[in-house]
Amino acid sequence: MTTTGTEEPEPDRPNRANATASAVAEPADGPLSGGVKAPSRARIGWRTLRKDRYWLEPTLIVAGLSAWLLYGFVRVFMQDFYYVAEHHYLTPFYSPCTSTGCVEAAAHFGRFTPDHPLIPFAALSLPFLLLLRLTCYYYRKAYYRSFWMSPPACAVPDRHASYTGETRFPLILQNLHRYTFYIAVVIVLINTWDAILAFGGEDGFGVGLGNLVLLFNVVMLWLYTLSCHSCRHVFGGRLRHFSRHPVRYRWWTFVSKLNTRHMQYAWMSLGSLFLVDFYVMAVAAGWISDLRFF
């Protein structure tokens, strides 16, 4: 092959020797053996070079979840101010109220669990609701990042010596999330029934602010429960042929839309649980009176 014309000479390429540059001093901790400091990787002194406030989100999550758990713990073992007899308001923290210590009118499903200061009045529902949120795919992300710092933020080292994920006990039990979902559906149905019963107070049918708060909470609980990833899977996600199951496909499509906001519903339902419980407590304790519309 022949070429015609004259090739331009290759221009002088600058190199490191003639660059105007200065090296940056690295931190004193020096190279380690694992993770981003493994021998084959680029030897960079800093564990992370992120300069943004990546610590803010995990800090807020720790604060938010801790505050909620503390409030819930206090309320569950308070064993008082959980029922407004006049308007039939029952807080979800005590539903279903099955303890022999429950007020009879609040015990819609009978009283048969022991009355003991260390046994919640809603001992049949609270452990499962706690498990639902503990094994929830969103909360897992939240507490793995914030409490366990595994990792605290993206591209920030988790600082744990070893890591096996969810392959061993006890974290392998996260795989049972779908069963907590099934149970949660039953419990939210009970919460819904409580909210309906609250429209019939001692003076018959009536609507007050408490009813709206109870309804809002039930809607939030349904949105959180139905937007669950396991729900999405069992309704249709496990299918290979949506076209052979049109009803399940439509359900899957609906749940998939909700699922995109699962995190928001997780926090909103925590907020609504706090709101409704505090409202019922405030009315039951006589701190405020319920605003009645009719």
């Binding site: 390429r13 600058p14 190199n15 490191r16 003639n18 660059a19 105007t20 540059a21 200065s22 090296a23 940056v24 694992g34 993770g35 981003v36 084959s40 990787r41 680029a42 030897r43 960079i44 992370t48 070079l49 992120r50 300069k51 943004d52 795919y137 897992r140 992300k141 793995y144 990042r145 595994s150 990792p151 993206c154 591209a155 920030v156 080292p157 988790d158 600082r159 744990h160 070893s162 890591y163 096996t164 994920g165 969810e166 392959t167 392998i172 795989n175 049972l176 779908r178 990833h229 899977h233 996600g237 496990r238 299918l239 290979r240 042929h241 949506f242 076209s243 052979r244 699922n259 995109t260």
Partner: protein, 252 residues
Amino acid sequence: MTYDLNLRVWRGDASGGELTDYVVPVEEGEVVLDALHRLQATQTGDLAVRWNCKAGKCGSCSAEINGKPRLTCMTRLSIFEPGETVTVTPLRTFPVIRDLVTDVSYNYEKAKKVPTFSPEPRQADGTYRMQQEDVQRGQEFRKCIECFLCQSVCHVIRDHEENKEAFSGPRLFLRYAELQMHPLETNDHRDAAREESGVGMCNITKCCTEVCPEGIKITDNAIIPVKEHVVDRSYDPVVWLGRKIFRRSSDD
């Protein structure tokens, strides 16, 4: 408008290296890769940087910018504060070759282990027929440009080199998910997803989704469905009982 950018770039190879400061003239509207090219053209001709399309579609120019895995061609300089030093390093999960270029062969080795597509036989007229609703889930995964940012940010291997043997990573979970969801696929890949790819090691902290330049919902639409499929297969006693009693697959 031209201004001077404070650019800090990691220079070196497997034997060692350092972050080096440069001042690079850049123009409004440019991206980090433009600055690297100008640096290479005017100050450091031996700077190693991998790139190709400059349009966010080839996945070649992956690096870490101010500590976060990103495509340098899709990172506008305007997102940084005026006067801010922009630090560019190679991906910190893979062995470095030189400067900003890393050896990403780990990902291709893992790709070799993904089972092959095994479709059902063609129909009498020689065609395959699929309904749109049956294939559309997997189409999202086809947007992957194999930039391996998700692999680089995944702490399972980023922070634990020893896990590379047992864990394939988010990019490969897209493949498992697509296979498991494909309407023509005849094989069951749930055991492979658990044993070969190590999906159980993922603790779904969603960093892969956060860094994906294609906006693929890797965690919600691929990893969690794969995990749930694995639960069907390995951890759900009721599904197991249903298969035994009704003698039918749970994934028809």
